[in-house]
Symmetry: C2
Subunit: 387 residues, 2 copies
């Protein structure tokens, strides 16, 4: 059977997810082609630099993407490279742009990303939030004029490195139908929260506010399998089990699914994210946000993001020790299947990173490697090397 890589990826990974390994059923297991993290990063930096992105911005964006691959979030890693490159090539993203603080207080800042690369805007904003949190306990930074900022937890990890609790959210292109609606009016609008714990442990949530990703629907479609209730709607606005219809309609249901299963809560959460990002920052929001495809988009994204850092030392002492106990309580609860201990947010990614370290490199899918080959030719850069 084909190996499916996307099944457990976060739900806000919705584009370019035709990532099912194409392997002949009768072929023998091949030794995987591995790429070191260093080489993957080098390749992506070269791609960005070929589009005249300044070195430090190219590095920031490549670090984010290879970081996603390392964590097993392949859809948010190298898989997105081509889309970012296309956006840069048609000037709908400005690779040279520097974010600017428009207004600030001791605890807040309003930033214009000036249509820069997502990682550039995001790192700038979270660093500002961290500085403010160290000063007055909380930093709350809203950005307009941002682009797709990759996996939301990337910025949260930055805050956690300073012993802070981090949060990050972004709005995205419309894809979720409000409860009781036929049309999409919100994006997959992810929420990430991370908290450091003692002994190098942590809690790291990164989730879309839709039930599932379009990628999951794509996989069911390729398998010719029906969809479970609660994933997607047909054009009549009703739940559909037809994967083909769902894929063409592109109307995901909010977390929870139907009204009976409290899908209105997922809808509420998605709206909450848009309020704290798009509406509050003065960026595009709801149905104003552009569509985005693999070929890029001919208008600016003007997405809204929010970055929050909180210093737990402003509250009860020994936060990290309590976090460690909290994690242990959750992981230690009696599992339904004795062979499968309960996992908390971030555990799967830790496992993925251990696997990459053990293997010595990243195993990309064949169609991803093909895209990289084409990009190398197109941008006239050194192709990616394997171990």
């Amino acid at each position: 059977m084909d190996r499916i890589y996307l099944y457990n990826l976060p739900g806000h990974l919705f584009l370019g997810l035709v990532l099912i390994r194409s392997k002949s059923r009768c072929s023998k297991k091949k030794t995987p082609k591995l790429v070191t993290i260093k080489e993957s990063r080098r390749f992506m930096i070269d791609c960005f630099k070929a589009l005249n992105v300044p070195d430090k911005h190219a590095v920031a964006q490549a670090d984010l993407l290879v970081g996603a691959d390392y964590r097993g979030h392949f859809s948010h890693g190298m898989n997105r490279l081509e889309m970012y490159i296309n956006d840069l090539a048609i000037n709908s993203t400005d690779g040279c742009a520097e974010p600017e603080i428009l207004k600030e207080t001791k605890a807040t800042a309003w930033v214009d990303g000036h249509n820069g690369l997502g990682a550039v805007v995001g790192n700038f904003c979270m660093d500002l939030a961290i500085k403010k949190a160290k000063d007055v306990g909380v930093g709350w930074v809203c950005a307009k004029g941002s682009n797709h900022y990759g996996m939301a937890c990337w910025y949260v990890l930055r805050a956690m490195e300073h012993g802070l609790v981090g949060m990050s959210m972004t709005n995205t292109s419309p894809l979720m139908a409000p409860t009781g609606a036929k049309e999409a009016a919100l994006g997959t609008n992810p929420i990430s929260l991370g908290a450091p714990a003692a002994n190098c442990d942590s809690f790291l949530l990164d989730m879309a506010t839709t039930a599932v990703a379009v990628g999951k629907i794509e996989i069911q479609r390729r398998k010719g399998a029906p969809l479970p209730d609660g994933w997607a709607q047909g054009p009549d606005g009703k739940v559909t089990n037809d994967a083909e219809l769902a894929f063409n309609t592109a109307c995901l249901m909010p977390l929870g699914g139907s009204e009976l299963n409290a899908g209105y809560k997922g809808f509420g959460l998605g709206a909450m994210v848009d309020i704290l990002t798009g509406v509050m920052s003065g960026a595009k929001y709801s149905t104003q946000v552009r569509k985005w495809t693999h070929t890029g988009a001919d208008i600016k994204a003007d997405l809204g993001n929010v970055f929050i850092a909180v210093d737990p030392n402003c509250f009860a002492p020994d936060f990290e020790e309590r976090m460690s106990d909290f994690n242990c309580r959750l992981r230690g609860v009696q599992p339904t299947d004795p062979k499968k201990p309960v996992m908390i947010a971030g555990d799967k990614e830790t496992k993925n990173m251990e696997n990459v370290d053990k293997a010595g490199g990243l195993e990309y899918l064949e169609n991803q490697l093909k895209t990289c080959e084409e990009l190398a030719k197109r941008l006239k850069i050194k192709p990616m090397k394997f171990i």
Copy 2:
């Protein structure tokens, strides 16, 4: 058919929900017994005062409860009175306690609720957050030593009155099973966010991070109807459709339901709430939190709460105008059923308040009125009067 009041109530209303109207099938429609808001408030204030709660605290707690009834959240209104009274009677809540600031910065405060009434602790903390938000743009206040604080949106409304965006969360007694677990390890842990909009409009989310409330399971049990997938687990840790079994097991599933429907996201959100409330404040968290029943509890609750206020004027100007447009976009999206326009968070409550205003009073259920009669006798106070 019996009228069922609880069906659309928020999911974190899980106790004392035996509220199905007991009406003879052959009886004619009776004129409802109505109680004015003023009289309901008077009655609750008198109850608290009979337990030696100081006037201002009695008023704070009664305002919260009657506010919930007015909004149609009956389970979080007068329905909770008896539990609060029982907790006060056995001294597991200290009705006289005043909250104390233990530590603060310009943007944060750590508060000890000293086991006071939930509304007293909550109002104190949100007022502090509002003050800080007006000063530096954000106020982030964590309380330990709190009690059940009623509907989460009550405190958010307080921030909204000042033109601020408000957020509030609390942990609660364990009732949600983590994905893949047989036992409950988190509460219904609600999240509330409110944002003011132009022309007296607003967005007001108040949702538990479980799929549904125990009250909904109770209703299915009384009807002898099966449960939909994704609501609750049996003692084997698997999804059950047996309402009786689910009620006795008391293991709710997180928002999303099973793993297939991304229930791990609801689990992650519930854990996020506990981190920001119980863990961060140094209160009880996860399985440390006591059980709570109608007869009260013999140990202190020591719940954790968080109250956040953000001044939208620190970011893009004209926030309320954009909020108004945002709400219109969501409400205006094409509905699945042309007769049912899309509703956003808070719309149902607005409708409920209009209905109470039109009727001239609150219509309590018969068993609620019976409880009030008994409370009046027990506490030797003036019974509640009807219009």
